[in-house]
């Protein structure tokens, strides 16, 4: 079929139908999309280089963690578990791991629940202090958490929460909240309000309609926000360093830092500690990275 493509046609039809492709595009329709076909080497070459940059450091840490002390072999063989048992038992990483898990899960739950309530209010209501609340959320992003350590320390001292994991959970939750609320309200805005209204007409209460209609559609967003909160609190270092002075209350990043600061650095132990610190977040990340991208495209960028 030959199509005479006039200037008017090409301007009018922004979406060429199957038969209406110009000859040059038609030649390549055999595989995939005809328009932005990229030569394969332009994908694989830079990607390969970047993959090396990403993976060599991980490999290096694994290597130090499993090869015997004093070895300089570039391959992880023969393998030993001595470094792991050392940091896990002698360097109390078993305790640190448990503390980090408690902080991470508690922060995840608290952040998600509080942000869900706040995000729903922002997405579905007009109220007098809405503008002020939004402004406060945005402004709080510019406040350096590290620089608020002194007053936060005093607050927790007055609340008698120094050396309690609760202080770290509260601090982590508070600093996760602004971004989480903004993200969640973005997700909720994307759920058409007519869906909810239909459920109200059917006799559902607001809460029931929310649970039955909105919540299921929010799942990817909530996973993104929750895992964000978990990963952040698992990783964050300064609050735990400042508010928890007893060793059996410390979290993994603080434990790692004491290994770095040791007089004669035991690289094997440091690497094994690093692997223990990395495993949970990398597992969480592997599961959520797909949702993370959809989560951001739904919430952050449009919201």
């Amino acid at each position: 079929m030959t199509v005479v493509l006039t200037a008017k046609d090409s301007a009018a039809s922004s979406r060429p139908g199957h038969g209406a492709q110009p000859p040059s595009a038609r030649r390549r329709t055999g595989r995939g999309r005809p328009f932005d076909e990229v030569p394969r080497w332009q994908i694989y070459l830079p990607l390969g280089v970047y993959l090396l940059f990403t993976l060599i450091p991980f490999y290096w840490m694994l290597l130090f963690a499993v090869r015997p002390a004093g070895s300089t072999s570039p391959v992880p063989w023969p393998m030993t578990g001595e470094h792991f048992s050392k940091v896990w038992n002698e360097r109390s990483f078993a305790v640190f791991f448990q503390n980090s898990m408690i902080v991470g899960v508690a922060t995840l739950i608290a952040t998600t629940l509080v942000a869900l309530a706040g995000g729903y209010a922002l997405a579905r209501f007009d109220f007098r202090i809405k503008g002020a609340f939004m402004l406060a959320l945005l402004c709080s992003q510019f406040i350096p958490g590290a620089l608020m350590l002194v007053p936060l320390f005093e607050i927790f001292k007055n609340l008698q929460m120094i050396n309690s994991l609760g202080s770290v959970v509260i601090a982590e939750t508070v600093f996760q909240l602004p971004l989480s609320i903004i993200l969640i309200s973005g997700f909720i805005k994307n759920v058409p309000v007519t869906l909810e209204e239909a459920a109200w007409v059917d006799g559902c209460s607001r809460l029931k309609a929310f649970r039955a209609v909105v919540l299921p559609l929010l799942r990817p967003g909530l996973i993104a926000v929750g895992s964000f909160a978990f990963v952040h609190s698992w990783n964050h270092f300064l609050f735990a360093l400042m508010f928890l002075s007893e060793q059996d209350k410390q979290t993994i990043p603080v434990g790692l830092n004491t290994l770095i600061g040791a007089d004669s650095v035991d690289l094997g132990a440091l690497a094994a500690g690093g692997v223990i610190a990395a495993v949970p977040v990398v597992i969480v990340f592997a599961f959520i990275q797909k949702w993370l991208i959809t989560g951001f495209s739904a919430g952050a960028v449009k919201g």
Partner: protein
Amino acid sequence: MAPSAAVATPPPKAPRRRTASPRRLPYLLIAPAGLLMLGFIAYPVISVFYYSLRHYNVTKPWRNGFAGLDNFTRIFTEDDQFWPTLGFSAQWVFTQVALQLALGLALALIVNQSFIGRGISRAMVFSPWAVSGVLTSTIWILLYNSSTGFSRYLADAGIGEYGTSVLSDTGTVFWAATVSELWRGVPFFAILILADLQSVSKELYEAASVDGAGRLRQFFHITLPHLRDAIVLATLLRGVWEFNNVDLLYTLTGGGPAGETTTLPLYVANTGIEGHDFGYASALTTVAFVILLFCSILYLRLSKFGGDRK
């Protein structure tokens, strides 16, 4: 709890409009977040401003009391560490944001294509995003270690020298720290940009391609304008973050060698926590906050964020 209030007064008979719900509901819903932020963000911020006007040093309690603007004059006239740390902060933030944006954009464009192994490649190149500052330091300390690190194998291959640690040399420490921060910072940009890339209408590219626009022109006329707001937001957030965050430099270099890698927040942390001079640290904090706020507003103005776009 807020939701139970909604159950207590359901609007079963007149559920036609949103306004039929109780007036108080939105306030109840934002109450938990609002109270937490008042108590643990607003109050500490006000305390910092208040402390900045006082002499407040745990080790010199006899001097404590109202100081007026003493702390601020000290910053600008007596302190010979303030300007160098501010300069390093600017250099650090600018380098990080520029390189993270360039690499993150390139990476996002690559993994947005369809190719074999895309899913697993994405998971792998994004994975350092989940890694903390302390863990990044750990990993790169192992790599940079002068006797058993990667440099040894490079030296064996004839690149570089034996026995020099890039972290203790003032000539190399900046780039050594920069590379390790890039390692975990680029995925942040790539994820945000990729998220926005997926909402570009494919029809636009089809139309452009039909009109004979090459890939380069498509990038500059379709992709980049579409990404503008996402890029402005990501660079701003990341800039603030890179300015404020002390985890990596604190553990990787400790601000050294010879104060070469001390950012302003790191200096504040040292003054306040190790030097116990809370009053002066609070004044430094206030100055940092004002600078950050000023730069952010200027940046949003200049970039015309949220303005018209085609």
